[in-house]
Symmetry: D2
Subunit: 478 residues, 4 copies
């Protein structure tokens, strides 16, 4: 079929998967008050592929390189900088068009593209075929995926084998002619309950003696032994909020427990080749940080917009220290955009696969994460204390006090009090809400910590070139 | 009576005051699901004055300097650095003992102490007597107060008189032999609905032609024409949380609308003396920033403790980059403590009133506010992504998945999984919740913005001394 | 002739120009102990155009677009991103090949390219022809230029007309049929005494009533009325230094006094068109910041190399906090490189002239300047206190104490003590010398201050796009 | 004699000591063009003790606690916070009065006070007597000292015993009934060639098996086997500078080589007690960081003064972004002052010795070092590019160009051009000179690196208190 509709996608989630949230088992994700928000957010990606607007449809779909049939464009393995730039564009346009990120095919192909690179380097034909066949399978069935990478890890100071029990890192506990049996738990898996297929990668480099932990595969979400335990999300808009016309957008994370899950050999991409675990983790990280910085650009643009708007609504747009803060805000956003585009324009080729520039992608991610809290602070500073203490929409609609609010909560005379309140509510969602603090944490931890980015920057930067230049300047013969 | 009980205090709030929250009018604050939290938090201050433990009771009460009767120690006007240090100690002990800040007498006396200083400088006997009499009144009736300072301000680029309407700053609209009539709205007023008395100060320096805006007075909370519109708070603990044994602590802010409110002359501390409005705003700010830095110390200690604990629970306490982050965390906390204590030890005397050192108090506040977001980031970094995605207490108690959580969410073997989850929930409240982002905003805005602190640092620092030293070093004759 | 030799260039400086340094008049720059260093540094650029290595020669020369004759490649007006990238490459290769920056044609064409853009916008044919003719003139005679932009400015709070005297900004004091007479002084003019031609631009936007200050022209360095007052430089290597095999490289700045200097009309590019003064200053700034970030990349690479080398020489390269600092150092360098290349890849077209992307060029410059001091600190930190207290080469060569130095100043056994000392001396030049502090100051001030870059970022960034996105997120109809 | 004159001190340096600088042996320090500057700087301390002004004399001298004879006040072991505050005052007044720091007795007693603390903790009577007798000796002869702490260290990744040779850390190579023989080299020793006595302390904690490296003693500077190799300093003012009326002040560092130096037992304070090496290093560091922060306050005040003055001389003192920078500058200086005073006010008692508060002293030092480069940047920013390119005094005095300089280098009309140039020259010495970059390096490295300060902050901060507070907030029973 190639291109599914949003409805077909949603129907596919009623497949018996085992999902828990807020202490309760979920019978139908698509109607659950919280999880349906995630489902609808992902479903928007299917809607885009079926858009009546040919410009949109042509962006989000492409022709299968062999059959010519239409497939989702995420399923086109990038061969050059244009392909990478199109991934950025898809991500950014999907946010602009739907108000949220229809996550699933981006990270799924981040995983798969990394698997292709590593299978190529390993020179194991079977894994290459497995990955190629799996790609054809998802192309054909237009599947949503999640990337299950981070293990729960137990005591962080201990190697997998030294832990209280062997399951803090997902590992192979049995194998036979048909396949392997795995046990463990993956955590913080974005959009997991809304995926059709789970792709598992090792959480980090594995060493000799940890071969059972060097395992990668893909498996349907309703496979026996799999349980999703989801974090709670916000659910629908409440009557206390001013909000835009579309439903709220959000992606729910889950812990995925693998309780003796069987994986057939043809779904396995790595099993025991610990020497390649680092390359797999590293290549996935590069692809996925590139995905991340791509979607962070519109995310921070809209936050910056709250600051621009609130400065104007408060009559502050010409005050010198406010202008300096707006310049810092704009510089943060545009440096991220420039580095993101530069990572696409200067890829590293592994065979015929274009990998986003790892050095630039990591610097972009580090720029984003390292300065995000300061960016938030600048926005909070410009918006004012009303962010914290604003009345809600029900206050506004209560005739007893509406007049007071209308009279006293005006700002610049160019804007209505109601629009000012609406903007305050938007800014609250961005920088003064449970969601906003959640995003601070994911900024620090999602797609790898800043320590991980620094490690890769150190690995990729031309330190020996610097050193040789310094030796020449010192008059040292080498 | 001098010292009221918590029950007497709570009863006093059932006085017909007009309070709205989440779009609805509140009949009884003491039983309202959200506002009762604020009331109980403030009531703990009364409980401390009645503590059976003499050490506690003696800290929170003192002898009336003239009558020798017991009064709340906040009502002792500070005469020296020991008195200031005792204010810090009361604030910090009250947080340690009750889990929250029983706000009301601290800010009330910050206002009153400033009023004393200014009345002394103005040399207007009537204002001095009014302030002294009001102090006796609150001493005798052991009243809770709030400080109503910040006006709504409208277009920030415009002076009061240039605004769309004259009410964006609270002002006198009428006066007669009995008193004055005021109109306007004060915003972000912490603990306002839980106060017995409202003390109003000008929000900033007023200039010639703005005499009607230079007004200060005290008025009971149930005075005709006063309406409180409160921000929503969290309410009681939910079954989804792990939490300590005591009730949640929180203070609700309110906007206070003054709709032609009559104030008798004997409650007025300033009316028209715009030349002294800056001194009043400035002296209040110094007292109140000192109060603020005093209560911020235990607030950031407990946050730092989450980082220390989570580092250990995760097995990371010996990792070099974690240790460096813990040193940064500790340095942030202890610099705040050292500066807070230094502000008390080196007061400025106005007559016989000891004002906390304005230069040091402002630097302490700027240290707190300017580095808070980075402090939060360090804690988020150490705690890990589980902050964002942790399962809740109902998940933990569901036998279907309890075993998975117990097995997979352990950290260092020295601690139980349950304790680790409890610590994660505490850390969430500190750095990954609506409350935590609310605190980021108040860090930036409460007790004046960083720009205000820089202005006062510039005003107080010995720039001319620096310049003279530089001229000597340059060989310039002066 | 098109391409001059280094000797021809040097001979051309013996033209009677009036140059002062360290209180004395200079008879021959090419033999002066300090100024000859600048002259030789610039002369290397001529040597590169005549390199026997065709790859080098072909980089630094190009074919005249009309006549096909060889000309210096800087004299090719950029038409696309490849031309801009070649400018970056010329600058960076010239530093790698000669150890210094042969400054003069880069800034000269930064000025001229800006003049072309503005002449095009003004639509004044005469100015367009003047600029075109002057370009042909410098192409034909292969001239070195300087860009005289910054006026002395007097009291910075006052407009030109309010100053104590009218000369703090260079201005037209007379005009007749043959030309104009100008008076004033330009300051901080890099490489000025080593230039053949001086190109003058307005130092900033001029306003109505300041038309006499809106003046731009080119004039030979030995024109009557022109005096250069140079800052002192380092001169040749001393016997106390370890140094590389090539002579020291340095560019001397000068103040250029214009004491009633006559400029013929055919050398004038602007005279009175104050409305276009901002565009001229702005376009020059964009071109020149792009030049600056291009040459800063190798400058900071070699500094980074000192840190990499010293970490290894001291045996510290595997220590975790040193590695984190090296990652910060590499991230600083590579972010600068990535943004510099991005500015070339995404130009703005004015007619057929490619202007480097102003937003990205300004962010790159701000990144460079805003984080340079921290970069220096990291290098100082890694290198160690020996940077400050190192013995000199004469100590090393004194047999009385040589043995002690050899024995005690070793580091990692992989390197000789002598090489370690050589590297320490190189690092001293970079981060612990008069030169290094001089570079800190030029980092802050050269090519415009950080405030100037923030102003341009604010001007160029899509603030209205951000705002519209925020309004959509707020549900505000526009 | 108790109190020596400056002349007596200088005469005492002609004692046959072996000193090298710039490759040459020094016959008489007191007449050497560079080293005499250090000698005179130290000699000023003797002049202060003999000041005709009783207020000064009484600050710098005190009564011997037993005999009542006058001794230098540095030789009074601190018993309380007032004694510590007096040390700060002596240091700061000596800089104000002489223009430099007469270094020697401060660090000498930092070492000795630490030796007293450790001898007390070891409970070794002989060491206690040795230290007490040595203190009497320096009191009686009014001696200048240096503190020789930092070893050359070789490969920093290796323990003393693993090095290429055993001498990278100073150690005992022989011992007999009369005393011990030591070998090694101490580096970066401030003011060393101008000292009468060298006090040696271990450079860091020594471990089991490193007992020979755990050695501390005092020895005259002219002892056989000792060689000083000095860094070059600036020497006298040049005619190219504008400068103040007093001679330049500077302290020269030296490497001190100990080539089989004999130390009699009665001069030994530790020999083999490696278990106490950490306490000795740590206590010395606390005393010495307190000395350091004390003298940094006037050092940064005068730097701040250059910024204040240059802002005024340039007419910029009311510009909003300049004012914000001045506030940052003042905040940096005053936070340092407040923490320095707080360290004195809250000492830790070891027996009857008052040790400055280690936590606060380390935070003050870290504040100073961690933000110094940014402070320098702000000053450079305010002063302007003229810092880098200013003409010199010989230019100013050349009548050919004097008129141009007078006319064009004026700033605000309130100040003469000559005063502006003088201030520029002072600012150059502070932030744009070899000296200024030297100070950047010593800021990072002197008195221990920032890593050392963070280690001590972590050690001293109440982490377990934080943790307990967090556990209470989490509801964890402990």
């Amino acid at each position: 079929m190639g291109i599914r509709t949003a409805e077909q996608y949603k129907a596919s989630l009623r497949d018996g998967r085992r999902v828990y949230i807020r202490g309760e088992k979920v019978e139908d994700l698509t109607t659950h008050p919280i999880l349906s928000v995630s489902v609808e957010t992902v479903a928007q990606g299917f809607a885009l592929s079926n858009s009546p607007d040919p410009e949109i449809r042509n962006l989000f779909t492409a022709f299968h390189p062999r059959t010519g049939e239409p497939v989702n464009r995420y399923f086109i393995t990038p061969r050059n900088s244009e392909d990478l730039a199109l991934r950025t564009k898809m991500i950014q346009r999907s946010i602009e068009l739907t108000g949220g990120l229809p996550f699933g095919k981006d990270i799924g192909t981040d995983c798969l593209n990394a698997a292709f690179v590593v299978a190529g380097q390993m020179g194991k034909k079977q894994y290459q075929e497995n990955a190629a066949n799996f790609l054809e399978f998802v192309r054909k069935h237009d599947l949503a995926m999640c990337g299950a990478v981070t293990c729960v890890k137990g005591d962080r100071a201990k190697e997998p084998a030294q832990q209280k029990h062997p399951d803090y890192y997902l590992h192979v506990v049995d194998r036979n002619q048909e396949g392997i049996v795995v046990k463990g738990a993956k955590i913080h898996i974005t959009s997991a309950p809304a995926a059709n297929e789970i792709i598992v990668l090792p959480t980090r480099q594995m060493r000799e003696g940890e071969a059972d932990y060097a395992v990668s595969f893909a498996i349907p979400a309703n496979t026996k032994g799999i349980t999703f335990i989801c974090r709670a999300g916000r659910g629908d808009w409440t009557p206390h909020e001013f909000h835009p016309g579309h439903p709220p957008r959000e992606l729910t994370e889950a812990m995925i427990v693998f309780d003796h899950v069987f994986v057939p050999w043809d779904r396995v991409f790595m099993c025991g080749e610990w020497q390649f675990s680092m390359l797999l983790a590293y290549t996935f990280a590069t692809f996925h940080r590139f995905t991340a910085i791509s979607y962070k650009v519109p995310a921070v643009e809209v936050m910056a917009g709250c600051a621009v708007a609130m400065a104007e609504y408060n009559g502050l747009e010409k005050v010198s220290h406010i202008r300096e803060k707006l310049a810092d805000i704009a510089g943060y956003v545009e440096t991220l955009r420039a580095l993101t585009n530069a990572a696409a324009k200067d890829p590293v080729m592994y065979g015929d696969i274009a990998v986003p520039n790892p050095l630039i992608a990591n610097m972009a991610k580090l720029h984003f994460a390292g300065r995000y809290h300061e960016f938030v602070r600048l926005i909070q500073d410009i918006c004012g204390g009303i962010l914290a203490t604003s009345p809600d929409r029900m206050d506004w609609e209560n005739p007893d006090i509406h007049g007071y609010l209308e009279h006293y909560l005006g700002g610049s005379a160019k804007y209505s009090t109601e629009d000012r309140l609406k903007m305050i509510h938007a800014a609250q969602r961005m920088v003064c809400s449970h969601e906003s603090s959640f995003h601070e944490v994911t900024t620090v931890h999602a797609e790898g910590s800043m320590a991980a980015q620094k490690m890769m920057i150190l690995f990729e930067a031309p330190l020996q070139r610097y050193k040789a230049m310094a030796q020449a300047a010192a008059g040292i013969k080498i």
